[in-house]
Structure formats: structure tokens, C-alpha cells
């Protein structure tokens, strides 16, 4: 066996070469030079809507040389909420997570502030409404970037023919496609009269009073329209007020004109009600219309999505924004912020909104007149007013303006719909108010 000898010169040269390679290695841009990143997106209802997000992420990852993993987590059975709770407890998981409405506040200690990227995003895309700030900002710090994916307004979706025939209301005239609304006459009183007329005609409004989101959001908007707050912004109990009494009286009248089983409705019930052609109006994003377009085209071509009726204190519409938040335990925060900036570019937002058929709503004021809403049909322009292009409504969330951690309890315990149902079922006003006050008192605990 021969043995090759290494002379002194060769040894010095080899050592120098190895050292040079070792020192230079981090500066050579390999395929994944900028490290790893994982993102947990909400799994979209609309088929193929996830594709747009994946493409945008891939485009960014290829450019930035990041090894990116994209997961889609369903909200069926609240799987996304369970995952958020698990990642928060374990302090490990995705780098970015798509937080629904209240979850920025409930995980505020574990989220990376994103003010540095939010300022330029707002400059480019326009301002955001107060509900987005209410849910996304704590002590001046943005806890996430408003995500257009999943964000929605749950306004009325009316049957053009039934409303005209039975209630004498031309919803297309109130909310013309491509033009500003002429909806001064669309008030809570007009809404009640229309509900009564449609009930008499056998096509009642399909408004749920269960404990799921659609029911709670509708109740929240009506409460705000009457100026009724259960807990005010400072955390004071404001249950026993005239405004709350007024809205309960309104709901009592309304419930008499709704289907008898609305107390048991979930988020699918109102969609089925509209698609089956049983009612003249529901409160929902355009997903019900989109399904009708596929399964019951004769119903879909009579649907018109429009604004909420105005009440004594204004016109409020339920808005549920999502946020892309970075966990504080993320190991690649600069890359996470860079991705969120990419996803928030106007072109990226338009791509995602298009992919969802107009279901997703950007939170930014310059992006609520995209082509997709004007072009969707039949009938053409059916969702033109869905994003509230003329900003005639106050976009709000049920239980606001209570401090978000208190409001979240009111929202998920469906306190407002329960109050409406209790009172409508014959409980005395004072007993209902006392019950609600007791509940809210419990929610105030810290």
C-alpha cells in the first residue's frame, strides 16, 4: 500500500483554500439561502381560491431564495382556532398564521408588531376602517397585516323579484350597479315592513338567531344601528339602557316574521334557505349566491347583494377581517415581513380577490372598487355593492366597541342573539337585561 506524503507547501495551500470557502459560504446564494419560512393560511371555501395565494407565495419564495412551506388550515369544526391555541401554548409552529377577527388580541403577547411594514402598506393601499384598527391594533402596535383572504361583509342578499312583488321594494333601484346607492328609504322600519310583507306572502326573511357567526353578526349590526352597546369602549356595563331596550323591541317584532326555527339555525341554514327559494332575504357574503349560481341558477339570477338598513344611530354592516400575523417565536421574522409586504401589494390583492370570485374583501380604501365586483353575474352587478364601494356603511363587528377581550366573549357566547330570543319568547324585558348584565359582568374578569 503506497502512502502519499503531504508537504508543507501543499498543507498551507489546502488550509488557506478551505478557510476561504468556509468564510465565503454564507455569502453564496444557494437555492434556500434566506432560510426557511412556514405560513398557515385559512383554507378557503371557494374552490381554487387557495391557488392564487400559493402562486404568490411561490413567486416570492423563488425570488427571495426562501424554503417556504404553505399550509391551508380549515375553519370547519374550528380547526384553525384549535391550531392557534396549540401553537400559542407550545410557542412553536408556523412563522406566520392567518388570524380570524379576535385572535390578534387574544394572542397579543405572542405576536410580532408589524408597524414598520404597515405604514408603507397603508400609504400605498389607502386607509383601513375603524374595525380593522379595533381588531388589529393594541397600544399603537399593529399585531398583523389585514388579509384580504377570508375578510367579508355580511350584508343583505335579497331576491329582486320577491322583494319587488311582495314588499314593493326595488333593491336594484336602491343599490344600482355601477352607481352610488339611493338608499335613504332603506331604514330599519322599512326593513320590518318588508319582513312582514314577505312573511305574509310565505317567503319570510331567513335571518338566523342561533349561536354561530352569521346570526351573531346580524344581531351585532342591528344593535349598533340602534346605538345599543352591552359594554362600552371603556369596559363599563351598559346593558340597561334605552337603546338596548329599543333594539330588543325591534327584534321581537322581527322574530314574529321569521321562520319559527331560526333559534336553531347555523351558518349553513340561511344559505340553504335562499338557495331553496324559500325566502326573500338573507344576511350573508356572496357565497350563498355563488352556490345558487351552480345549483339553482334561476334563484341566483334574482339575487342582489346590498347594504344594511339604516337605524336611529346609522347604517352599520358586519365586517369580519382576517389578519396575517407573525408569531414572536418565529425564527425568520425579516423573511416573514417581506412575504407579507409582497402579499399586500395591490396586484397581489387583486389576484386573490379575483380568485375568490369577489368573496374576499381588502381592508384598504383604495381597493374597494376592483373590476371583479362590477363584472360578476348573473345578474350583472349583483355584488357591485358588496364591498361598500361608496363607504355608506360603518363597517363594524358584533359586541364592539367593548374592549376586544371582553367583546370576544360576548360574540362567542352569542349574548345578543340570546337576548333577542329570550325576550321574543316571552321573558320580561328586565329579566332579559338582568341576565345579560350578569353574563357581561362575568366576561369582564381579567
Amino acid at each position: 500500500m503506497s502512502r502519499r506524503k503531504l508537504n508543507r507547501r501543499q498543507f498551507v495551500a489546502a488550509t488557506a483554500a478551505t478557510s476561504a470557502v468556509m468564510i465565503a459560504a454564507p455569502y453564496v446564494r444557494g437555492a434556500y439561502a434566506a432560510g426557511k419560512l412556514s405560513i398557515g393560511f385559512w383554507d378557503h371555501w371557494v374552490p381554487d381560491a387557495n391557488k392564487a395565494s400559493t402562486e404568490l407565495c411561490k413567486e416570492w419564495a423563488d425570488k427571495e431564495k426562501v424554503d417556504l412551506q404553505v399550509d391551508y388550515i380549515t375553519s370547519q369544526g374550528n380547526k384553525n382556532l384549535v391550531t392557534i391555541a396549540a401553537e400559542a401554548q407550545a410557542k412553536s409552529g408556523h412563522d406566520i398564521f392567518q388570524m380570524p377577527t379576535w385572535w390578534c388580541h387574544s394572542n397579543s403577547d405572542l405576536l410580532e408588531p408589524v408597524n414598520d411594514i404597515m405604514e408603507p402598506i397603508i400609504q400605498e393601499n389607502g386607509t383601513v376602517n375603524d374595525t380593522v384598527k379595533y381588531l388589529g391594533v393594541l397600544d399603537g402596535k399593529w399585531m398583523g397585516v389585514p388579509a384580504c383572504v377570508g375578510s367579508q361583509i355580511k350584508g343583505p342578499c335579497s331576491r329582486i323579484d320577491l322583494m319587488k312583488k311582495h314588499a314593493g321594494i326595488d333593491v336594484q333601484e336602491l343599490y344600482p350597479a355601477g352607481a352610488a346607492p339611493k338608499a335613504e328609504s332603506w331604514t330599519t322600519d322599512a326593513f320590518l315592513k318588508a319582513a312582514e310583507a314577505c312573511h305574509k306572502a310565505g317567503v319570510p326573511f331567513g335571518i338566523g338567531l342561533g349561536e354561530t357567526s352569521d346570526s351573531v353578526d346580524t344581531a351585532g349590526a342591528f344593535f349598533r344601528a340602534f346605538g345599543a352597546e352591552l359594554v362600552d369602549a371603556k369596559g363599563n356595563l351598559t346593558v340597561k339602557t334605552d337603546a338596548v331596550r329599543q333594539v330588543l323591541e325591534f327584534y321581537k317584532k322581527l322574530i314574529a316574521f321569521l321562520p319559527p326555527d331560526v333559534g336553531a339555525w347555523d351558518d349553513a341554514s340561511n344559505n340553504k334557505w335562499l338557495i331553496a327559494g324559500k325566502g326573500a332575504l338573507i344576511m350573508n357574503p356572496p357565497s350563498a349566491w355563488a352556490v345558487a349560481k351552480r345549483d339553482a341558477p334561476q334563484v341566483a339570477e334574482q339575487c342582489w347583494t346590498h347594504g344594511f338598513p339604516t337605524g336611529p344611530k346609522g347604517r352599520f354592516a358586519p365586517f369580519l377581517p382576517f389578519f396575517w400575523s407573525i408569531w414572536s417565536f418565529s425564527k425568520n421574522k425579516p423573511a416573514a415581513k417581506s412575504l407579507l409586504v409582497h402579499l399586500s401589494k395591490p396586484s397581489s390583492i387583486e389576484k386573490m380577490v379575483d380568485a375568490s370570485g369577489g368573496y374576499d374583501l381588502p381592508a384598504f380604501s383604495k381597493l374597494n372598487k376592483l373590476k371583479v365586483w362590477a363584472e360578476q353575474g348573473p345578474p350583472k352587478g349583483t355584488i357591485f355593492h358588496y364591498p361598500d364601494p361608496y363607504q355608506q356603511q360603518v363597517l363594524s363587528i358584533a359586541a364592539s366597541p367593548a374592549p376586544p377581550k371582553v367583546a370576544q366573549q360576548i360574540y362567542f357566547q352569542a349574548t345578543q342573539t340570546k337576548m333577542a330570543l329570550r325576550y321574543a319568547q316571552g321573558e320580561s324585558m328586565e329579566k332579559t337585561l338582568a341576565w345579560a348584565e350578569g353574563e357581561c359582568e362575568g366576561f369582564l374578569r381579567s
Binding site: N78, L81, V82, A85, Q89, W102, W103, S106, N107, D109, G210, E211, T212, P259, P260, D261, V262, G263, A264, W265, D266, S269, K272, W273, A276, K278, K405, Q408, Q409, F412, Q413, K418, L421, R422, W435, G438, E439, G442, R445, S446
Partner: protein
């Protein structure tokens, strides 16, 4: 077979060798090998049951933002809430009535199946076990469609007889009935199969002796069948009580606790408070409240089983 290996020689060995031999002896013991074989399972249980159990106790002692130790503060808070006591009441109604009906139906059906000739019995046993074999989350979805507020298949059928519509999930009493019915439908086959096994182990001679003594059908059940099945009935009831008290999927899918919280049970309310309401310590406290109730039931039932075991 001996439980320990017997040493071959009494010659003293160096200390290291003695240690090795001690290990060998330990490994040769039946109890040691049994322990080693069950160790993976013990570790799995420790990881998936014991650790989460203690962790939930820890969580239950924290304040809402999980930054401060509050001892029994969460329980004190719960005891003052009307909704909590409503949930306690409903959990008891749900679990006790469901277990009672499951036991009764299981007992009756087990007798029917027992009396079917052996040739066709296997087919019936298989068919009757179907509800128990289907994952409850799936079968409850089918029930949800049957009970649907607006399109209930039951109501559609009843309408031909001029009955209804019945608010299966919209009225508190009917909603409670519905969730209990689905739980009984799902759980009765378990009772049936356990009781069937117990029935098959009752010696025929006892029935023959009872028949010679002139015992009628009821007396044979009361004085022969039931005493022979007591332990199985007790264990099955305990097991089912624990599972039914901790039920989540049926109520969650069918009513989500509504209407007006009238069908919430511990697990569904804990989920509502802890996960949906982001108050994890309070949710953990609601879940843990089941422990003393079930522990008391377990102590009584198991003590009774032990007593009878010692007597026999």
C-alpha cells in the same frame, strides 16, 4: 416456572460481576419482562394522558391571560355563574338518562340476540354493532340532516300523518331529547355486546334448576340472569358514564349547545369558553369539574364490584 433465576454457585465474585448477575436476575424475572413489555404503552399514556391532565390542572390555576397564579379562583368564579350550573345540570341529565336508556335497550336487545339460533346470530350481531362502529362525528352529521330545522326528513315523513313540524333542535326540550336519542343510538350496541357476552357465560344449569323450581320468565331474569351479570353491568355502566359525561362530538355537531345554552354539556361549554372565547384557564376548569363527579361514581361502582369479587 420460577419467578427468579437461582444462582449456580455461591463462590464470591468481584463486585462488577455481581452487578451484572443482578441485572440478569432482574431481567429474568417475569414481572420485569412484563414491565418492560408494557413500558412503551406506559410511556404513551404518560405522554398523551398524564402530562395533559397535569397540564390542564396547571392551566386551571392561572388567570385569564395565563400570567398569574390564582389557585382555585377560576372555580370560585364558575360557582357564581348561572350558566355553569345550567351546564352541570344538563350534563347530569344527559349522561344519566343516556346511560340508563343505553343499558335498558342493550339489555333487551342482548336477550333477543341471545335467543336467535346460533346460525344466524353472527349476522344480527354485526348489523346491530354498526352504529357503534361508525365514527360518531360522521353519523351525527346524518342525524343533523334528519333533524334539520327547515328540511328535516323526520318532519317530512310525519307531515304525511298530519304531525309536526317538530322543532327537533330549535326547542330546548326537543333539543335535549334529540342529543340524548343520538347518544343512545350510538352507545346502545356497546351495552348489547357486553351484555350478550355476559349472558353467554351464565351456565344453563342455573336456568334448568330455576325451571324445575317453577320460576317464571321474570323470576329467572331477576334471580338468575341479573345477579350473574351484576359485575358486567356495573363496569359497563361506569365506563359508559365516563364516556357520556365527556361527550363532545354529538352535542357539538347537532346543536352546538343551543338553543339558549340548553344542551351544553361540560366538554362543549369548555370548548366554547376556552377555545372560542380564548379563556383557556376557565375552559380547563370547566373540563376538570367532571373529574370529582366521575371519581365519586367510579369509587362507588368499583367498590361494589370488589366487594362482590371478595364475597365470591
Amino acid at each position: 416456572m420460577v419467578d427468579a433465576a437461582i444462582g449456580e454457585t455461591s463462590v464470591p465474585r468481584p463486585r462488577k460481576a455481581a452487578g451484572r448477575s443482578g441485572l440478569r436476575k432482574a431481567l429474568k424475572r417475569k414481572s420485569t419482562s412484563a414491565f418492560l413489555m408494557t413500558l412503551p404503552l406506559i410511556l404513551l399514556i404518560a405522554l398523551l394522558v398524564i402530562y395533559p391532565a397535569f397540564y390542564s390542572v396547571h392551566l386551571a390555576t392561572l388567570n385569564k391571560s395565563m400570567q398569574r397564579f390564582v389557585g382555585f379562583g377560576n372555580f370560585e368564579f364558575l360557582f357564581k355563574r348561572d350558566t355553569f350550573w345550567l351546564v352541570v345540570k344538563q350534563s347530569c341529565i344527559f349522561a344519566i338518562s343516556a346511560v340508563l336508556f343505553k343499558a335498558l335497550i342493550g339489555f333487551i336487545v342482548a336477550h333477543f340476540v341471545h335467543n336467535i339460533p346460533a346460525k344466524g346470530q353472527r349476522k344480527w350481531r354485526g348489523m346491530l354493532l354498526v352504529p357503534w362502529v361508525i365514527p360518531p362525528a360522521m353519523s351525527t352529521l346524518a342525524w343533523l340532516w334528519l333533524f334539520d330545522p327547515s328540511y328535516s326528513a323526520f318532519n317530512y315523513t310525519l307531515s304525511f300523518f298530519g304531525i309536526g313540524p317538530i322543532p327537533w333542535t330549535g326547542d330546548a326540550a326537543w333539543a335535549r331529547f334529540s342529543v340524548i336519542l343520538v347518544n343512545v343510538w350510538y352507545g346502545a350496541p356497546f351495552f348489547m355486546i357486553m351484555y350478550l357476552a355476559a349472558l353467554k357465560s351464565v351456565p344453563d344449569q342455573l336456568y334448568e334448576a330455576a325451571a324445575i323450581d317453577g320460576a317464571n320468565w321474570w323470576q329467572r331474569i331477576w334471580y338468575v340472569t341479573l345477579p350473574m351479570m351484576r359485575n358486567i353491568i356495573a363496569i359497563t355502566t361506569l365506563f359508559s358514564l365516563i364516556v357520556t359525561f365527556a361527550n363532545f362530538d354529538i352535542v357539538r355537531i347537532l346543536t352546538a349547545g343551543g338553543p339558549l345554552d340548553k344542551t351544553h354539556i361540560f366538554a362543549t361549554w369548555a370548548f366554547r369558553v376556552g377555545i372560542e372565547g380564548s379563556d383557556i384557564p376557565l375552559g380547563a376548569s370547566v373540563s376538570l369539574f367532571m373529574v370529582p363527579i366521575l371519581a365519586v361514581a367510579a369509587i362507588f361502582i368499583l367498590r361494589d364490584v370488589n366487594k362482590r369479587g371478595n364475597e365470591s
